[in-house]
């Protein structure tokens, strides 16, 4: 007698979701098929706009209303759920399929205690007494290793760290032992060390329970770390799928090869780069302390920055590395005088022809979607600075066109608005805007963090190129050690407001001295081949 194979937990057959209203392609998801069996982790990998999140949302029945009803079949344990009623789908969500999301910062209700938010799954799906539910929530919180579950039950999301919030979401998603977990970029917004912990936790829980995991990510490193099988998506289509090792080590499609090649390696690129420019900026024991409180409250003091000293030469890129809360952005903002340091000094090299501080030091910010004024054309944004310093409009606009060309955009695009550009293009515009002031020093605060790897590689090349062309001193702030390896000559590692280590990139990577630096290096996903000496 034949043993009947159990059906996969989820099977997507020929799923097609057309793109509403005149997009650049007909389908958001273009006839996609794949499956996830019990006890395996399948990664769907792709860049932004590849349709991977839309696929995940359609499995949950949570497609935004702008999308039409999907065509094709979605089988949950062999049963087609595309025809399920809204109440059947509600029952499936939380009970049969759990889901976690990218932004743990915003995915929790800010005015409800986190314990209550886990409890909501129980209240929705089961009828248990209050004490039974409380016990189960505490058990779930313990399982995801949240500290002091009884105390944390009553805490509000803003009192938790990003990693803790993601754990709360995992506890809520898994409390009813669903057969499938859909994880949509769950670690993208987290620090690398936290990411490493969350990934291993998902892996452990998945093995213990034998559930299927559909893991959506853009990060090849994460794929290597966690996936059994990989589905590569591009523009709504599956371009390649297969076991992880096969897809990553012997990719058959050009797109997969490009995706893998775009991932920056940890090989320091600038080992042979000689810097002999003058010192452009010198920073001496800069500190920033925040005080809060008043007559009715205990005074609280936060040492955001505790005495950072550095200098950068022209033609040199200094990387400032650290996780959220390490003080790296505070340092950048103190150097650029966007916030006032509590003590210490920032000295620029003697100014030629009396140029102002703001002309000589410029910043490029992290979020290309929000750092350009949406109501002004990009040309207006670019010429605003030079015109403030007395350049005529015609002259500034002429220069803006040149700069647009320099950063790889059409010169006449100065008349367009930010929303008409992609993320990568907007970051190019932000760079053009900074260059319009003809600065000596450029401060890039996580300037490529929000970009897809292929775009990231292009923007990094651009920054490299403009540095050579204008002999810029660059302060490059990033949490991503791979990116730092591409562009930096030297590194400063920051931890809790202090500089814990500094030196040339190659020596820090080869022989990290500080414990924290080692931890940081060990947490980089998909780098099993580069074990850090203990």
């Amino acid at each position: 007698m034949l043993m009947k194979m159990p059906p996969p937990v989820i099977e997507v057959q020929d799923l097609a979701i057309s793109l509403p209203g005149g997009g650049d392609r007909g389908f958001a998801v273009d006839h996609v098929s794949f499956s996830v069996a019990a006890g395996e982790i399948v990664c769907v990998v792709g860049e932004s706009g590849s349709g991977k999140s839309v696929t995940a949302q359609s499995i949950m029945g949570l497609l935004p209303k702008v999308f039409p009803k999907p065509a094709g079949r979605i089988l949950f344990e062999g049963k087609d759920i595309t025809a399920a009623t809204p109440s059947e789908m509600r029952d499936l969500r939380g009970r049969g399929i759990g889901m976690i999301f990218q932004e743990p910062m915003t995915a929790l209700n800010p005015v409800q205690a986190v314990g209550k938010q886990i409890d909501e799954v129980l209240r929705t799906h089961l009828s248990l007494s209050r004490t039974e539910r409380f016990a189960r929530v505490i058990a779930a919180m313990t399982e995801v290793r949240l500290p002091d579950p009884e105390g944390m039950y009553h805490a509000f999301p803003h009192q938790l760290s990003g990693g803790q919030r993601q754990r709360v979401l995992i506890a809520a998603a898994l409390i009813l032992q669903p057969r499938l977990l859909i994880a949509d970029e769950p670690t993208t917004a987290l620090d690398v060390t936290t990411q490493a912990q969350i990934l291993s936790q998902i892996r452990d829980l998945q093995r213990e329970r034998g559930m299927g995991v559909l893991f959506i990510t853009h990060d090849i490193g994460v794929v290597r770390e966690i996936a059994d099988r990989v589905v590569v998506m591009k523009a709504g289509k599956v371009v390649e799928h297969g076991p992880t090792v096969q897809v990553l080590d012997a990719p058959t499609s050009d797109y997969t090869r490009m995706l893998i090649a775009s991932v920056p390696t940890l090989e320091p690129k600038r080992s042979g780069h000689v810097v002999n420019g003058d010192v452009a900026v010198k920073v001496d024991t800069l500190t920033k302390t925040y005080h809060s409180g008043g007559i009715f409250r205990d005074r609280r003091t936060v040492h955001a920055l505790q005495g950072a000293s550095l200098s950068v030469r022209r033609g040199e890129t200094l990387g400032i590395i650290g996780e959220s809360g390490s003080g790296k952005s505070t340092l950048a903002r103190c150097i650029t005088q966007l916030i006032e340091p509590s003590s210490g000094s920032v000295t620029l090299a003697a100014a030629k022809n009396g140029r102002a501080f703001r002309q000589r030091i410029q910043m490029v910010f992290q979020d290309p979607y929000r750092s350009l004024n949406p109501r002004r054309t990009v040309g207006q944004s670019i010429i605003e600075g030079p015109m403030n310093f007395g350049q005529s409009k015609a002259e500034a606009l002429e220069r803006a066109r040149e700069l647009m060309k320099l950063v790889g955009l059409e010169p006449h695009a100065v008349d367009r608005f930010p929303h008409q550009f992609s993320g990568g293009q907007r970051q190019r515009i932000s760079i053009a805007r900074a260059l319009a002031m003809e600065p000596d020093i450029l401060v890039a605060d996580e300037a490529v963090s929000a970009l897809d790897v292929s775009v990231q590689a292009q923007v990094l090349r651009l920054i490299d190129d403009i540095q050579k062309r204008f002999d810029l001193a660059i302060l490059f702030i990033t949490h991503d050690l791979r990116v730092a390896a591409q562009i930096c000559d030297r590194l400063i590692v920051m931890h809790r407001g202090e500089v814990v280590e500094q030196g040339p990139v190659s020596s820090i990577f080869a022989a990290p001295v500080h414990q924290y630096t080692r931890e940081l290096l060990a947490s980089i996903p998909g780098r099993a081949e580069h074990m850090v000496p203990a």
Binding site: L62, E120, T124
Partner: protein, 313 residues
Amino acid sequence: MLAFIAKRTLSVIPVIVVVSIVVFLLLRLSPGDPAVIIAGDNADAATIERIRSALGLGQPLVTQFFIWAGSLLQGDLGISIFSNIPVTDLILQRIEPTASLALTTLVFAILIAVPLGTIAGATAGSWLDRSLMLVSVLGFSIPVFVLGYCLIYFFSLQLRVLPVQGFSSIREGVGPFLSSIALPTMTLGLAYLVLIARITRASVLEMMGEDFIRTARAKGVKERVVVTRHALRNSAIPILTVIGIGVALLISGVVVIETVFNIPGVGRLVVDAILKRDYPVIQGVILLFSGIYVLVNLAIDIGYAFLDPRVRY
């Protein structure tokens, strides 16, 4: 939390002081001799002199203010020029209809506006949403007195179900009270209602796009619960804020409504006082209204801390 409440309450004091200075100057800076104004048209020289010394008008302005503020603290708002009754008593006699009207209006507006706005926000673009938006434009643009007379014409003169005017105290029975106050409440409440409804709609609509709404749906929570427990609950602060701001609207509306519906309340009192230049009464009512406004907003400030754990105190 107690420290927060104490701090907020103390912060009200400077506001009250500024208000009382303005009210004080109202009489002192108006043209003419305050004693003559207060004494009225038919007073003899002795009366005027008596008032002059009672108010300390011969002394510096600052001293006068402290004398005035001192009696204020004892609940003495002065004596009405025309009726010779203490202003405090006058206000106490008239407060019930006004307070009743303000409360029924608040309840009427909030009870209808919040559910309506929530449904409209959760179903943005639906027929209900569109009609609410249409009605809200109307509600804002019709002057209170026009609306009042329209309602009187329709409900009282045509349908003959509600009284044209007057006020019946709740002590004389709930039925007469409600029927007498129904039209004034609707008239006064409409603008307030559409204001709250619009803010509720906008806020709920914004919240419906938040990530935590998606999380709640992914937990299998019913849509109705998603809207109330998550979207509406997070909209509480803007809704509360607009309720507080609307109290000012309510206060100015009361004055007009009491005249339209012939209700013997504080609003009518102040209108009469203004017509007769009865300064002590005007001062008393202004102090009362601004005091209420300040207290309502204090309560709302404290309410924030209960509604949103992120409000730091």
